[in-house]
């Protein structure tokens, strides 16, 4: 009986499964993502309004009975309440439910991490692959440019670019709501994220470009690429069909390690008051608000801090585990 061949991905999966830290991290990350996106979705209020009551009464009635509070629902009579049955993690300084804000904030933070990584990845992979594949003088010019851009302080440029784009995002959201009739709540929630995506994505691609370029340089010297070229395949096909798939390992590894960095960048910006704006919540905003009440209400800082740090920790461990699994040569032990 012919033995079943094992692919690179299968091998990698087996290696990853052996690494208990990475497996646990993978499950934790999936759990966090699932709860951030599913619980608020399931817990959305759909109960019809009672026409005999005023809007405020209606909302109070609905929200107080519902197990999942909307994240922006304030109740000033119930601020700083301790964790209880109706507020599993208690409430914040204006009586908003901490759990709901944490989950909604998680959506924003995870979204920023994933979308910025995708943008940075696409720019970096294209740039790096072109640079490595073309080679020669173009390559050294392109890489010298990357070297110079590398010298720029990441955070400073991200802050400037995101502030610049947030002005346009405001105009665009007004346009979308008034002229195109988009849902104003939806636009308000995501419009001020776009500047962050753009800023982090356009600055964060440099390392990805370096990694991809090094890969492309070494792969293009291999015989199967020579074979492809002698068959007369166009460069586009060689790049997309033969070089790119062989670079996926390191790309995935580095992308995984990028996500926590970008989530951290978002949190830092929001902490400084330059990122996601209230009343939207992101983990950075929760941390910033929590630190204002550190002395009197440590819970407001501790809960987001623990979740935030654990998520970043898990993502980093997962990235490390993936590197060991996909790229055994690069593993340092």
């Amino acid at each position: 009986m012919a033995s079943k061949g094992s692919s690179l991905w299968h091998d990698a999966w087996m290696r990853l499964r052996k690494n208990s830290m990475a497996t646990a991290s993978l499950f934790f990350v999936l759990l966090v993502i699932a709860s951030c996106f599913l619980i608020p979705f399931v817990g959305q209020l759909t109960a019809p309004d009672d026409p005999n009551l005023s809007e405020t009464e209606n909302r109070t009635l609905q929200y107080n009975d519902h197990w999942f509070k909307p994240p922006n629902y304030q109740n000033l009579e119930n601020k700083f309440s301790a964790p209880s049955g109706s507020h599993l993690l208690g409430t914040d300084q204006v009586g908003r439910d901490l759990l709901a804000r944490l989950l909604y904030g998680g959506q924003i933070s995870i979204l920023v991490g994933l979308v910025s990584t995708t943008i940075a990845g696409m720019i970096g992979i294209t740039y790096g692959a072109l640079s490595g594949y073309i080679g020669g003088r173009t390559d050294s010019l392109m890489m010298r440019t990357v070297d110079i851009l590398y010298g720029l302080p990441f955070l400073v440029i991200v802050i400037l670019i995101s502030l610049l784009f947030s002005a346009y995002a405001k105009e665009a959201s007004v346009f979308l709501i008034q002229d195109w009739g988009w849902d104003s709540e939806f636009v308000a929630k995501y419009a001020n994220l776009v500047p962050l995506f753009v800023a982090i994505g356009t600055i964060g691609w440099l390392t990805m470009a370096r990694i991809t370029r090094a890969q492309a340089l070494s792969i293009k010297k291999l015989e199967f690429i020579e074979a492809a070229r002698s068959l007369g395949l166009p460069h586009r096909i060689i790049m997309l069909r033969h070089i790119l798939p062989n670079m996926l390992g390191p790309i995935i590894v580095y992308a995984t390690l990028t996500v926590p960095g970008f989530i951290l960048a978002e949190a830092t910006l929001s902490y400084l008051g330059l990122g996601v704006q209230s009343p939207n919540s992101s983990w950075g905003i929760l941390l910033q608000e929590g630190s204002n009440y550190m002395e009197t209400q440590p819970r407001l800082l501790i809960v987001p801090s623990v979740l935030f740090s654990l998520t970043l920790l898990a993502l980093n461990f997962l990235g490390d585990g993936l590197r060991d699994a996909l790229d055994p040569k690069a593993a340092k032990d």
């Binding site: 110079i148 010298g151 400073v156 440029i157 802050i159 400037l160 801090s305 740090s309 970043l312 980093n316």
Partner: protein, 305 residues
């Protein structure tokens, strides 16, 4: 060696110039202007203000004028503070410098030994413990670490304050906050570098020859194993400087960080440009210093350059 430094210096100049030009353009493209405040200014006063700071000219004219000012060793006048930018920077630089230097000392003193220890005791409890701590150090942002340190340390030691600047030991907590994250990166990099070297034949030969373990580590392994860590000191320095902006905000330290954040928010063009230039120059110096150290410690680099 000299040519390396010169080319790095040239590259550094480009970096600083690019940074300045980017900042210059971006801050002017942003909506709002430095004179926007709570009450609307009458148009003629606004015009007068703009004339005073030459903001009514085209960007190119402004930029060349600014470069001329720089050439004279000045950085213009802060629009919102009505003070020369050089004066503001001079008064806030020491706090940032103390913080940065203390931070990098803490980072090196904690990170490098931890990495070496981890590599020597590979796959032991010490190794796993150190590496988990290092991962924690990378994952926990400074604004989470700061309150933890503040309540854990400052609460128990009477000389330490939670925030503020001026006392003899006020630098300690912020510098610790700043240094620990970098220490975590350094520990991981040092461990990797040491492991690479420890697996090589010449270490085995030395062991077989009966060279004492300590001498093998210090004299043979460390010289090669430390190289990745030193290569990282340049980027680490940049990370520390921008990181200090955040730590300064947390601990309310009158350093350059507050000026960066406020100047950006208030559109104080000249102050922001000044702060960014200082930042860029510092980063370039850090990178060049790391390059020189690399060449000094690694003879193989000397021959090729």
């Amino acid at each position: 060696m000299l040519s390396t430094i010169l080319s790095r210096l040239g590259q550094g100049c480009i970096v600083v110039f690019l940074l300045l030009a980017l900042t210059f353009v971006l801050i002017r493209l942003m909506p709002g202007d430095p004179f926007t405040s709570d009450k609307a200014l009458p148009p003629h006063i606004k015009e007068q203000n703009e004339k005073r700071f030459k903001l009514n000219e085209s960007n190119l004219v402004q930029f060349t004028a600014y470069l001329k000012t720089l050439a004279q060793g000045e950085m213009g006048i802060s629009i919102t503070r009505e003070q020369p930018v050089t004066k503001i920077i001079k008064s806030s630089f020491p706090a940032s410098a103390i913080l940065g230097i203390a931070g990098i000392i803490i980072a090196v003193c904690v990170g490098v030994p931890a990495g070496i220890l981890s590599a020597l005791k590979k796959n032991s409890l010490i190794d796993y413990g150190t590496m988990i701590l290092a991962m924690l150090g990378i994952s926990v942002p400074s604004f989470v670490l700061a309150p933890v340190l503040a309540s854990g340390i400052a609460g128990n030691i009477p000389f330490l304050k939670v925030a503020g600047w001026g006392g003899a030991l006020d630098w300690f907590l912020p510098a610790l906050t700043l240094g620990l994250a970098t220490a975590a990166y350094l520990a991981r990099i040092t461990r990797g570098g040491m492991l690479d070297v420890l697996n090589q034949d010449f270490i085995r030969t030395a062991k077989a020859k009966g060279v004492p373990a300590l001498k093998i580590i210090l004299k043979h392994a460390l010289r090669g194993g430390i190289i990745p860590a030193i290569a990282y000191v340049g980027p680490a320095f940049a990370m520390l400087i921008t990181g200090s902006f955040i730590v300064e905000t947390i601990f309310q330290i009158p350093g350059m960080g507050q000026h960066f954040v406020n100047a950006t928010k208030e559109r104080d063009f000249f102050l922001l440009q000044g702060v960014v230039i200082v930042l860029g120059v510092l980063i370039v110096i850090g990178n060049i210093a790391a390059d020189i150290a690399l060449v000094a410690i690694n003879p193989r680099l000397r021959e090729t350059s």
